[in-house]
Each structure stands twice: as C-alpha cells, then as structure tokens.
C-alpha cells in the first residue's frame, strides 16, 4: 500500500462547530453585560441574546475531563463550547434560565466559574518539566499552585480591571507579556559537559546564537569544545537549546523572577512590556510558596490602591514606581535599572517626581 499522503486542509472552517446563535448573529452583536462573575450576556442587533458561562480548566486535560465537559455541554448548553486564549472553557446558552443550573453543575464538578471582567483569570501556561526539553521549572505546577491561591479572585470580579498573568519556564518566554509574569531567571552561566560538545553541538551555530558573544570554540582536554566568558555571560540560556551540554538549568541557581505591567491591549496607553520587580525567588516545587506570596501581595496592593479600569501597568504609571516598591515592600536594587546602551529610555529624564 502506498503511504497515505496528507490532505492539506489547513485551518478548518469554524462555522461547522459554532453555536448556531453565534453563527446566526456573526458580525452583528450590539453590546454585552456581565450579569454575574463568570457570565457574559451578549445582545445582537437582531435582539438575540446569548449567555456565556466561563469556567477554568487545567488546560492539559485527560480525556475523561474533556468528556465530562462535553456531557455538561450536552446537558446544559446545546452541545457547543469554545475555549479562550487562556484555556478557559465557555458554554453558550440562549435561555437565561439555563445559566444558573450550568454554573452550579460546573462548580459542583470542580470547574470554577469566573475569569470574566475585572477578575484574575487563568494564568497563561507553558510546558515545563512535563514536556519541554529546556525548562527550568514546571509551568503547570506553578499555575495550579497559584490558581488554587487565587481561586476567590477568579470567581469574583473584585479587581480594578482584568488581571492577565503569564508563566514561562525558561528565559525564552513562550508565555506572553503579563500584568504579572512569573518567569524562570537563570543566575549562573551554563556548565559545560565538555565530553558531549563535540558530538551534540553545532558549534558555529551556538557561538552565533549567544547575544553577547560570550562563547568561543576551545580545545578542552584535547577535544574540540566551547568556552564561556563568564564575565560577559548574561545567563540567558539561548545556548542551551542548540547545545544541551551547555547546561543552564540549575536546581539552585535557576530562580524565579516576577515582572509586572505588561499590557498587550491598546486600551488607553500603547501596549507595554512588563518590568522586573522581584528576582532571586526560589524555584520551589511543588507549591512555589515564595513566588505565590509575592504575587498575592502585589495583587492585594493593586486591589486596594488602583482605580476602576486601571490595569496594573496603568496603576503603577499613576502612582509611580517608587510608591509601587513602597506599597509592596519589595526591595529596589541596581538590577531594576536597565544597563544596556539603549537603556536611556528607561531613565527618568525629567523633574517628574512623586512624593
């Protein structure tokens, strides 16, 4: 039998799987309301209304969990669902009376209903030790630990504005920019296993990939290997994927860093990158209590101090970084001051000071 050649069908047509009310009102929605946390109600130009119930998932789901969600959709929500970019699942119903039973059922089955409006929604999520070849931590574990602690903030809408958090299990950062980002930060140069370099690494590639040109070819014990200028090395880990013997991950020295103020939406200010606020945090499975404490503390202060519609970044812009560090009691260090040559843009070139 000749091999089966793929049908290059590409991205499938979504309409075949879309809730019929969504398909019918496609491009003709008028406004929305949030009758309660976790529930949206969209009204179409046609007068049609659709209620969406949003619930959290663990993203990496076993088939039983998925089938359970399908059962719920079949019984309570016309048999359709969609997923959000943050791995929340959404059930659409056209009959308002179905909302409460659906919410109750999801809650009973352990799927928290929430994540809408000014809540802390699901943390976006990368692979970690479960699957990636270069992770410094386990994204799924960090997220599970944090979401357990933030459950109340997920199922309520008590924040000043949406909180979009992210995780990344290495400095490549597959997780996105976040209001708060919890990311691996290496603090020591890679340790080289010189025996393996010759066989496993494309040496010119890895030399070229180092952003600060800290790697040079070298003969070690008579074998062709690599050498790292530890003074130059910024511990970014870029050398590790193309050259696994350049071990950057370290149980002790791969730390967690926390960044705040990333904002991808264009609402108010232009999109902004998140900024370093805390580092040197132990990478401490299975519950990462030190990282969780800092995140919760930042959220608490934000919740107390920010005004309606201020994202974390907007809030800090208003109150200023000095006050952010004061309120959160996080230490400010020389590492917060950017030091590359173009960093001038991050300096305060004004008499704008808050007291």
């Amino acid at each position: 039998m000749p091999p089966r050649m793929p049908i290059e069908s590409g991205v499938p047509d979504p309409f075949q799987y879309m809730h019929p009310t969504l398909a019918r009102n496609y491009g003709a929605w008028k406004y929305h309301e949030r009758p309660r946390p976790g529930v949206l109600c969209h009204t179409g130009d046609s007068g049609d209304k659709v209620w969406t119930v949003r619930a959290g998932t663990q993203r990496q789901m076993d088939v039983y969990t998925i089938r359970n969600l399908c059962d719920i959709a079949d019984n309570f929500a016309d048999g359709y669902v969609r997923f959000t970019i943050r791995s929340n699942i959404e059930f659409m119903v056209t009959d308002e009376t179905k909302v409460k039973p659906l919410v109750d059922k999801l809650t009973a089955e352990g799927f928290p209903v929430g994540g809408t409006g000014p809540s802390v929604t699901m943390i976006s999520h990368t692979q970690g030790w479960l699957h990636c070849d270069i992770p410094g931590t386990d994204a799924s574990g960090v997220v599970k630990s944090l979401m357990d602690e933030l459950h109340e903030e997920f199922i309520n809408e008590n924040m000043p504005n949406r909180v979009h958090m992210t995780t990344s299990c290495c400095q490549i950062n597959c997780g996105g920019q976040g209001d708060i980002a919890i990311n691996i930060q290496h603090t020591k140069p890679p340790k080289i296993n010189h025996n393996l370099v010759a066989n496993v690494c494309e040496r010119p590639t890895v030399v070229a990939r180092c952003p600060v040109a800290a790697i040079r070819p070298a003969l070690v014990n008579g074998k062709p290997s690599l050498e790292v200028d530890e003074k130059k090395c910024i511990c970014c880990g870029a050398c590790f994927p193309p050259c696994p013997p350049m071990q950057i991950n370290d149980p002790e020295h791969s730390k967690i860093a926390i960044w705040v103020g990333g904002n991808q939406s264009n609402a108010r200010s232009k999109p902004t990158f998140h900024k370093l606020v805390a580092a040197g945090i132990p990478n401490n499975p299975p519950r990462w209590p030190e990282a969780a404490a800092i995140v919760k503390n930042i959220l608490r202060v934000y919740k107390e101090d920010a005004k309606d519609w201020e994202r974390i970044g907007d809030w800090v812009e208003r109150i200023g970084w000095p006050r952010f560090f004061e309120l959160t009691e996080l230490p400010f260090t020389k590492y917060h001051i950017d030091n590359w040559r173009g960093a001038r843009n991050s300096l305060n070139a004004s008499a704008h000071i808050r007291f």
Binding site: K30, D62, S265
Partner: protein
C-alpha cells in the same frame, strides 16, 4: 492489574485545592486499566516527580514526523528512560483548531477517541500558539493518529522554522467590538501559506495573529510576526441617550475621572448637559471609552484592519513589539483580501531571503531598519508607522528632494 504507580509525594500535593488538577487527570489515565496509555502515564508521572525532586527536566528532542510534512510533531525522548521506560517516547502532535476555538461536543469526543487509541489520553486545549496539543505518543503511533485526525478534517500545525499556527479572537462570532471577519482573515492567511508551514524552510518561525479590535485579545502586537487588527476609520457611534444614562448612573465625577481623563489623546469632553463630545480626528481608537460605556459608544461603520509586524518574545535581543506597517486597509471585497494576502506573501518572501538564520522578522527589521524592510515588501512610508519623527540630526539626506517629491506625487494621485 496494570503497572504499579511510582511514589509521587510532591505531585500528590498538587491534587488538593480548588483549581482543576492536571495531576489528578494524569493519575486517572495512569490508573486506567487496560488502556494502551496506562503504562506510559505511570512512568510519565514517575519522571515528572523525579523532575520535581531534582528541579531538572529530562526530555530531549529528536526527529519524528509524518509522511509529506516536515514539521508539526514535537519529539520528546526521555533521558531517564532507564527508570521510566514506558514514557521513553512522549511526542506531541500540534493540530490546528477552528479559528475562535469553537467545538461541538461530537468533535471533542472524536478527538478524545482518536487520542485514546493512539496517544496518552492527555490533550492541551490549547497551546500558547493556539494548537490543539495532543501530548504524548510514540513514534510508531504518530502516523496512524495523524491520518485519522486528517480524515476528520484537521491538519497539522506549525513547528520549526516555518509559518506557525495562527490565532484569532472570538470576535465577530460573539463580540460587539469586532471590526473584522477574524476567522476569514486567519484562514486565508494560514491556508495560503500552508506550504511554508508544512515544509519548514524559512529562516525562523513566522506567526499570524488576528484580533477583531484594538483590545487585541489575541496579544497579536507582542506575539505575532504579522498582526492583523480590526479598526474603523469614520467617527465612532455615540448614543447620547445612553451616555446621559451612564452619567446619571455613575455621576459626573466618575465619568470625568474614569473616561474623559483617561483618553490618551484628550479626545473626549463632557458637555455641561452630560452629553459627550468626541474629537474623532484625535481619537486613536484605543477602545477605552467604548469598553467602559459599551452601550453608549461603539466603533464606526467604515471598518477595516491595521497590520503590524515584528512582534515576538525574548530570545536573543529581548521582547519586541510589532510596529505598524499598514495603518488601515479595507477588507470588504475579495480583492481587498487578495491584497492582504499579497502583503503577507511579500513579507514571507522578503523574510525568507533577507533574515539571518534563527532571526525573526522583528529582529530583521531592527537590524536593517524599517525603511529597508517596507521598501522590500513594496509598502510606502507613512507617518502612522512612527510614534514620532527622528530626533537625531545624524543622518544623510542627500536626496531629500526626490523623497519629498514622492510624497507630493502620492498626495496628488
């Protein structure tokens, strides 16, 4: 009786707490008597616990694929297979979902069934690039599994130096802010350049993301090589009755402080009679006031899209934002879509020819300068591309007159 479980005291701690637990899910699979994946999942848990204990990962890459395609599978071979032999191969298949990630339950059940037969039973919905990630199978199972999914109408997503799986927001399907037909844009772009997805030959990855409005729920500006974002060109729609109702409900002070003062370009003014004045020429379509007063305000009727290019995350020179390449284009007719397609095609071609190995579009633009890039893809300069003109006089401008003439000619045309 199935394979006995390893001791997993650390992972066990992740079973408690109100958030759904991936550990509980994996354990369910690991104790799923008689299922092909049971042993694999037992050892997976073992290896994962080992990672938790030692704070290190134990997967390495390799080469695994399906016939006809050069990418889409993320191969994983265990470095500790001696202790955890049944999960020694644990590859992931990336499958492209319907745009907007809409499913009926039949479809989801079908996915489960296929993956129960050929894989681990563990599915991530979805990966950060938007793929359905079928996580964990052996080299042998890849091909039959993909064949079944492909027969169901699904196709492999991107991996490696290739066009990648794209994402679009729920948009027109369920959002009053939508200014674009997100799913159509996404399908057209990815499907036109599907060859560059399935046979990776670009310098590095290339991502499309589509958001229906500047709220950018797909994070396209920071995470896509080519971001397409819906917007509008005429005046926003203001329902003054709803404005007054909003002011009445919230109070003048609240409206001034939460809406008027927060407009990034001072384009709003509250009139003494509680109606709202909008300076549409200064409005930058940031969406803030529309978000806050969604019943009273909405995007205009003359809709289209803005295109930005060059967004990406950290590796090599730090995170880069996408920047405006096409400030506005209509997407009404098939010709309009064709034009969009061409812009994407020119960009991919230019990228293929001019980027260094492992260099993203954003890094390339940074290296060669925006002007060389847009000239290369056949786009003309526009002041919307910049937040401000140059501040340094250190530039050679011998042929200013010619360049000025070009602009005059364009304006006259």
């Amino acid at each position: 009786m199935g394979k006995p479980m390893h001791n997993t005291p650390m992972l066990d701690q992740l079973e408690s707490g109100p958030w759904p637990s991936f550990v509980t899910g994996i354990k369910r699979l690991a104790t799923d008597e008689g299922k092909p994946y049971q042993g694999m999942m037992v050892d997976l848990l073992g290896q994962l616990e080992h990672s938790y204990e030692t704070k290190k990962g134990y997967w390495k890459g390799g080469t695994v694929g399906v016939i006809g395609y050069g990418g889409g599978v993320i191969p994983r071979f265990s470095e500790v297979a001696k202790n955890y032999p049944e999960s020694k191969e644990f590859h992931t298949l990336r499958i492209m979902p319907p745009p907007g990630m809409h499913y009926d339950t039949k479809l989801l059940r079908d996915f489960c069934d296929v993956w129960e037969r050929h894989g681990s039973g563990l599915i991530a919905l979805h990966g950060q690039s938007g793929d359905i990630m079928l996580q964990g199978t052996t080299t042998d199972n890849i091909q039959p599994c993909f064949d079944e999914l492909n027969e169901m109408g699904f196709d492999m997503g991107g991996a490696g130096p290739a066009v990648r799986t794209g994402m679009s927001c729920v948009g027109a399907a369920r959002c009053e802010q939508s200014c674009a037909n997100e799913q159509k844009v996404l399908r057209m772009l990815v499907n036109t350049y599907i060859d560059d997805m399935h046979r990776p030959a670009l310098p590095y990855k290339f991502k499309f993301k589509v958001s229906g409005c500047p709220n950018d729920c797909m994070n396209s500006i920071t995470r896509a090589d080519m971001a397409v974002i819906g917007t509008w060109r005429d005046d926003m729609k203001v329902d003054q009755t709803e404005v007054k109702a909003f002011v009445a409900e919230k109070g003048r002070k609240y409206v001034i402080d939460s809406v008027v003062s927060r407009c990034p370009t001072n384009a709003l003014s509250l009139n003494d009679d509680d109606s709202l004045e909008v300076d549409n020429k200064s409005c930058v379509r940031c969406m803030h006031c529309i978000n806050v007063m969604t019943k009273a305000l909405s995007p205009g009727d003359d809709k289209g899209v803005t295109i930005l290019m060059g967004g990406k995350r950290t590796l090599k020179i730090g995170d880069l934002m996408g920047t405006v390449i096409v400030p506005f284009m209509k997407l009404d007719t098939e010709d309009d879509y064709e034009k969009l397609n061409e812009i994407a095609g020119n960009t991919i071609d230019f990228f293929a020819e001019n980027a260094l190995e492992h260099e993203r579009t954003g890094e390339m633009i940074e290296r060669i300068g925006l002007v060389n890039f847009i000239e290369g893809i056949g786009i003309e300069v526009d002041p919307n591309m910049i937040s401000q003109p140059r501040q340094s006089s250190y530039v050679r401008m011998d042929d200013w007159d010619e360049e000025a003439q070009k602009w005059q000619d364009r304006k006259a045309a």
